[in-house]
Symmetry: C2
Subunit: 228 residues, 2 copies
DNA sequence: CAATACTGTTTCAAGTGTGAAACAATTTTT
DNA sequence: AAAAATTGTTTCACACTTGAAACAGTATTG
């Protein structure tokens, strides 16, 4: 087993493997080889073995992996055996949508509070989740044991909110504001930028494509700015 | 100017640059150098110039870039000068949240239709967007000139939906189902997997961290499965 | 005209990720 | 006991991205 740094790509794949195993388990399949797993879900068997090897020896040579055992192992590695409490900052469209979405997806993540500055929103509820004044953030983080923050505020406030969140001791943050945020090294930020995603699709549509479907080349040269 | 393939990372950055320029423009700033831009938004000036160079010469040596000109150029490169019509498949929590979110974000993407199989939902509206029977997908794609599809259905249906979408001629797809989808090369799929994002945060929280904040090493070895 | 500023472009080194291949070790099957 | 299956592990080649450095070319400034 290696003891080096684990790439985020590796842990992302663990997430995928876990889901595949859950599916297999639901089908009543007890054991699976890396080859089998790779073929079923369009993965790479060597990569599966390599990824798992970072964390220990989970398989049985000559047999493969016991589905339920590996599920448990991955669940533990990913920290999904313990519940997490999520606070969402920004009770706008994005924030409330996320609250709604996560509340009803059966995971070990519970949305326990929404926060906003808008007095009109404070006190209201989204599903079972109450909207609090952002001033009470620290208080509620402690009371509700929030360990994950979701930032869903307009871009211009996002960095300030991040700093507030970090100051209170939160280490894991999901950012939906369309702006890259900066924090110390021991803070983990995942930014999901729906605007970039859409714009990248737009770019794709705007480009001329060749027979093979590949984007061929950008627009013409000699587009010079005239002197004013 | 180069005429090679453009990496998605490059076009993602173009998206970011455009936003930065919009901000500068709003502040009334007329010109900006790559260095200036890099410092303001924590980017890399060499990278900015390199990225732009793929598409032409937009700057003025000795001066920098004219903010509004470059905005227009990037807008055009990204295909954001033309409107796009979006159809969202799956009127569940995710689908309706996205419809709501995109409807009120001022972009050139308009959500023109939602689709679902649930008869109870068909005919209802989310904001100004009507929910249609999925059987009418092809018809509406033509009528409403939908060129971007958003897949927001449960994982097990996602691949089938994708194939239906592709068959109708849609080339740009955003996938929110937590499963990687496969399509031909000339189809562009962007998957946004909120589950993986959260689970990656969970992994981070579960790991022991050293003084430097770096994740130190995985769990212990010698976790062998006993023979049954 | 000279100095300055800044882009456009190339080159290089470093780091990272991927996929294939190979093979010893171990277990099951025959 | 031999054959087959499959993991755990290493190694290698390839591709991609980044960031730095260097420098010619072009515009502005003094």
């Amino acid at each position: 087993m290696k003891v080096e740094k684990i790439s985020e790509l590796t842990t992302n794949r663990l997430s995928v493997y876990l889901r595949c195993l859950n599916e297999l388990s639901a089908k009543g399949i007890k054991t699976v080889s890396s080859d089998d797993l790779a073929k079923r879900f369009h993965l790479n068997s060597a990569q599966i073995r390599k990824d798992l090897a970072y964390f220990g020896e989970f398989g049985v040579r000559g047999v493969g992996y016991y589905v339920d055992n590996l599920r448990q192992d991955l669940t533990k590695i990913l920290g999904l055996d313990k519940p997490h409490n999520v606070g969402i900052i920004g009770a706008g469209r994005m924030g409330t949508a996320l609250a709604d979405y996560y509340e009803y997806s059966q995971t070990n993540f519970s949305v326990v509070a929404l926060f906003d500055t808008d007095k009109a929103k404070v006190g209201q509820k989204v599903g079972n989740v109450k909207i609090h004044d952002i001033k009470k953030f620290e208080e509620l983080v402690k009371k509700e044991e929030i360990d994950v923050a979701v930032i869903a505020v307009p871009a211009q406030y996002a960095q300030d909110i991040l700093e507030m969140v970090v100051k209170v001791g939160i280490k894991a943050i999901m950012n939906f504001a369309p702006i890259p945020l900066k924090a110390e090294e021991n803070i983990k930020i995942r930014t999901v930028d729906l605007t970039i995603s859409l714009e990248s699709l737009s770019y794709f549509l705007a480009q001329p494509t060749g027979e093979n479907g590949k984007i061929m080349k950008p627009i013409a040269k000699n587009r010079r700015i005239k002197k004013k």
